[in-house]
Symmetry: C2
Subunit: 411 residues, 2 copies
C-alpha cells in the first residue's frame, strides 16, 4: 500500500499542486480533500481522460501528466481513463474530422501506445496508476439509462460551452449527440468516483459537468483543475502534431534539445513554469540573463526529465553542430533497393524521402520540396520531379534543420 | 385480405382525406402514395401515436380518429402506436407534470382502455388496425444506438420547435433528454415504416422529424397530416379533460347531446367540418338558419355516429327536460351505507357527492359547492359543511346541468 506523503503540510502540498494551474474549482474543496486524505490515509482519485484517437503525445500533454505525477508523488492514485467506447462510436454524422470512429483494435492499440508514453512521466506502479476504459459502464447502458442521464442537465447549460455557443449563434450545425458527449464524459467521473479531474483549459466546461453530475448522483463533487494549453514553437498556436509546431514526448534527446532551443522568447517563462521544477526566483534570474543561456537551461532540464539516462552534453553538442549547418556523424542509414531507380539509374527524390521515413507519401514529399523543406547533402531541393544519382557511399537527405537520413544504394 | 377501395379515383379520395386538414406535407407525396397503392393493391401504413398517460378520450381525439377511419374505409391500415416505453421513463427530472412515469401495469391498462375507446370510431379488424408498442424497438437500444440516432438531427432544428424556442429564449430550463423525445418519436416512424402520420397541429414538428429521419434511414418519407385541436365548450381553450370543457367519447347519448347543444356558435362550422360528413353546402345552410336548429342537427349527427344504437329522440327529450330545470326520471340510484351518517343521522354532503361519483374527493366536492356547482333536489347547495337527512325514497344530487344521482339510504 502506497503511503500518503506526510512530510509536507497541506499548504505545502497546495503550493506544489497550484503551480501553473489556470482554473481550480475550488481551492477550498481541494484543501478539504487533501486534509481528509492526510487524516485518513486514503489516497485521492485523480482522473485524466485520454483521447485514444490521438495517440501521439507531445510536450503539451507533458504539462498535465507532470501534474498527475505530482499527485502520485504525494501518494495519490491517478486514473487514466481511455474513452474507448466513445472513440468507437466517433462522430456518426461523419461531419467532424476530429472524431473518426475507430475499431476495437485501433482503440486498444492507441490506448496501449498512449499509456506507454504516459509512463515516461507517470510512476508505473499499480498502487498509484489505474487504467480504465469507459466501455465498462457505457456498454451496458440502455435507452432508458441514457434518457435518465440526459435528464440531469439542461440544454441551456450545455449550450453555455464556448464552442457550442459560437456554433449555435453562427448557424453552424451541432448534432444532438454532441450534447450527449459532455454528459457521458461527466458520467465517467461518477462511475470512477473521481476526487479530482485534470485537463487542459479547453476541458473546463466538460469537467465541470462531471462535478455537477456527481452532486446529482449524491457524490462529493470532484475538484476541477485545468492547466494551460502549451503554445507551440510557432509562438501562436497551441502545440499540436497537425500544426507541426510540437516537440514529441518520445523525440530523441538531441531532437528534443534542438526543439527546446527554438522556443520563442516570450514563451520561455511559461515553459519553465509548466515543464520544470526550477524555483520562481531562478526562473526570473534566467529570463533577465541572455536568452540563449535560458534556452540551454530549459533544454537540459526538460531532456533530463524525459530522458533521465541521456548524455546531455552529447545532445547539446549535436544540436550545436546542426545549428551551424553541419551534418552530424551518427545519422541513420537506409538501404535503397535498386528497383526504386527510374530508367537511367536515377532515383526520384520524393520516393527517396518516403523511403527514408521523412514523409508518409509522395504527395507529402512533393509538398515538402515545394516548401523548400528538403535538402540533399545540405542543399535545398527545388524540383519535386527531380531524380538523382546515388553514389556508393550514399547521399544525405535532410528534413528541416534536424532530421537526417543517409540513403545508400543496395547491391 | 382487405381490398383497396377502387370505386373512388385518387382525386375523390384526396377530397375526402383533405377535409378539415390543417397541414399536409406534402399533398404531392400523398397523391403519389395513393396512386401507387391503387396500382399495386398495397395498403398504406397510417400511424397515430397514442399517449398512454392520458387514457380518457374526448371529441378532440375523435377528430383525428375519424380521419384514421377514413383511411381504413379506403382500405388502408392504421397503426395505433402506444408509447409504452417512453411513458414508463416519463420525465426523470420530475419537473414536467405532463410526463409522470408509469408502471408497466398502468401503461398496459391505459393502452387497453385507449384502444377500447378508439374502437368506437375505428374498424376493429386486424387487417386494418394494428396495435404496436414502442418498447419493441426502444428496449433493445444501447448507448451507441442512441448516439447514432441523435447524430441524425441538429440542435438548431430541434430548437426550432415552438415550445423549445420560447422556453430557451425565456430562460425556462429544457433538460437534454427532452431533445431526445422528438427523435424517439421520429424513430418510431422509421421502425414502423409509416407512410403517413396523423396528429394534432401541436404534433407537426415532431412528425416532421419522423419524415426527416425516414429519409435519413433511406426510407420513403412519411406524409405528415395534421388536424386542428378542437376548441372546447368554453370557446377559447383546446378541448381537454383538465379544463373541464370537454365531451367524453364514452359519454352517454343524452349527456353528449346536451354537451353538443352548448357548443359556442362561432365553433359550429368547425364542429360540423371535423365531426360530421355533412356536405359544405348543407353546413352553410344550417349556419345561415337558427342556431338552435344547427345545434340540434350537430348533436344528432355526432350522437348517431358515436352511439349508432341510441334512441336519438329520447336523448333529445331528456336534454330538453333538463334544460328546463327538471330532473329526469331515468337517473342512476346509489345506496348510501348507514355508517356514512354523522351523530344525528345526517349525511355530510361532500361525502355523498364522492359516494355518488360526482367528485373524486371531499376536497373537490367542497370546491364544487363553493362554486355553486352542486344541487340537492334542484336547489344549489351553499355550505360545504352541511349535513342532510335522507328520506327513505332518497334525494337527488346534481352536478352542473346534466349529471344526476339519486342517493337512497340503505336498510
Amino acid at each position: 500500500m502506497t503511503e500518503i506523503q506526510r512530510n509536507l503540510t497541506v499548504d505545502e502540498q497546495l503550493a506544489i499542486l497550484r503551480r501553473g494551474v489556470v482554473d481550480l474549482v475550488s481551492e477550498d474543496d481541494l484543501r478539504r480533500k487533501l486534509t481528509r486524505s492526510l487524516e485518513t490515509g486514503t489516497p485521492l482519485r485523480v482522473k485524466l481522460g485520454a483521447d485514444p484517437t490521438r495517440p501521439d503525445l507531445h510536450l503539451g500533454h507533458a504539462v498535465i501528466l507532470r501534474k498527475m505525477r505530482q499527485f502520485q508523488d504525494l501518494g495519490h492514485r491517478v486514473i487514466m481513463l481511455i474513452g474507448d467506447f466513445t472513440a468507437m462510436i466517433g462522430d456518426p454524422s461523419g461531419k467532424s474530422k476530429t472524431r473518426p470512429p475507430l475499431t476495437l483494435e485501433e482503440t486498444r492499440a492507441n490506448a496501449q501506445s498512449y499509456l506507454e508514453q504516459c509512463k515516461l512521466i507517470l510512476r508505473d506502479d499499480p498502487e498509484v496508476l489505474e487504467l480504465r476504459f469507459n466501455g465498462e459502464w457505457l456498454e451496458p447502458m440502455g435507452y432508458a439509462d441514457v434518457i435518465r442521464l440526459a435528464s440531469r442537465y439542461t440544454v441551456a447549460r450545455i449550450m453555455e460551452r464556448d464552442d457550442f455557443k459560437k456554433r449555435f449563434e453562427g448557424g453552424v450545425p451541432i448534432a444532438v449527440h454532441e450534447l450527449l458527449y459532455p454528459l457521458t464524459q461527466g458520467y465517467d467521473s461518477v462511475a470512477l468516483h473521481a476526487d479530482i479531474e485534470l485537463g487542459g483549459t479547453d476541458q473546463l466546461f466538460n469537467n465541470l459537468v462531471g462535478r455537477a453530475l456527481q452532486r446529482d448522483y449524491e457524490q462529493e463533487p470532484q475538484v476541477v483543475m485545468t492547466l494551460p494549453l502549451l503554445v507551440g514553437l510557432d509562438g501562436t498556436e497551441k502545440m499540436s502534431k497537425s500544426l507541426d509546431n510540437y516537440i514529441g514526448l518520445t523525440d530523441e534527446p538531441h531532437a528534443m534539445f534542438a526543439g527546446l532551443m527554438k522556443v520563442p522568447d516570450p514563451l520561455l517563462e511559461n515553459y519553465f513554469t509548466l515543464l520544470t521544477d526550477l524555483p520562481e526566483a531562478r526562473i526570473q534570474e534566467l529570463l533577465a540573463g541572455h536568452p540563449v543561456e535560458a534556452h540551454r537551461v530549459l533544454a537540459r532540464e526538460v531532456v533530463r526529465w524525459l530522458h533521465p539516462d541521456a548524455d546531455l552534453d552529447a545532445a547539446e553538442a549535436r544540436f550545436k553542430a546542426v545549428a551551424k549547418g553541419g551534418i552530424p556523424d551518427d545519422i541513420p542509414s537506409v538501404p535503397v533497393p535498386a528497383d526504386l531507380a527510374g530508367g537511367e539509374g536515377r532515383y526520384p527524390v520524393t520516393r527517396l524521402a518516403v523511403l527514408a521515413g521523412l514523409e508518409p507519401s509522395n504527395g507529402a514529399a512533393k509538398k515538402l520540396i515545394q516548401n523548400r523543406g528538403l535538402r540533399l547533402n545540405g542543399d535545398a531541393l527545388t524540383d519535386p520531379q527531380a531524380a538523382i544519382e546515388l553514389p556508393a557511399e550514399g547521399a544525405v537527405l535532410q528534413k528541416g534543420k534536424d532530421r537526417f537520413v543517409r540513403l545508400v544504394p543496395q547491391g
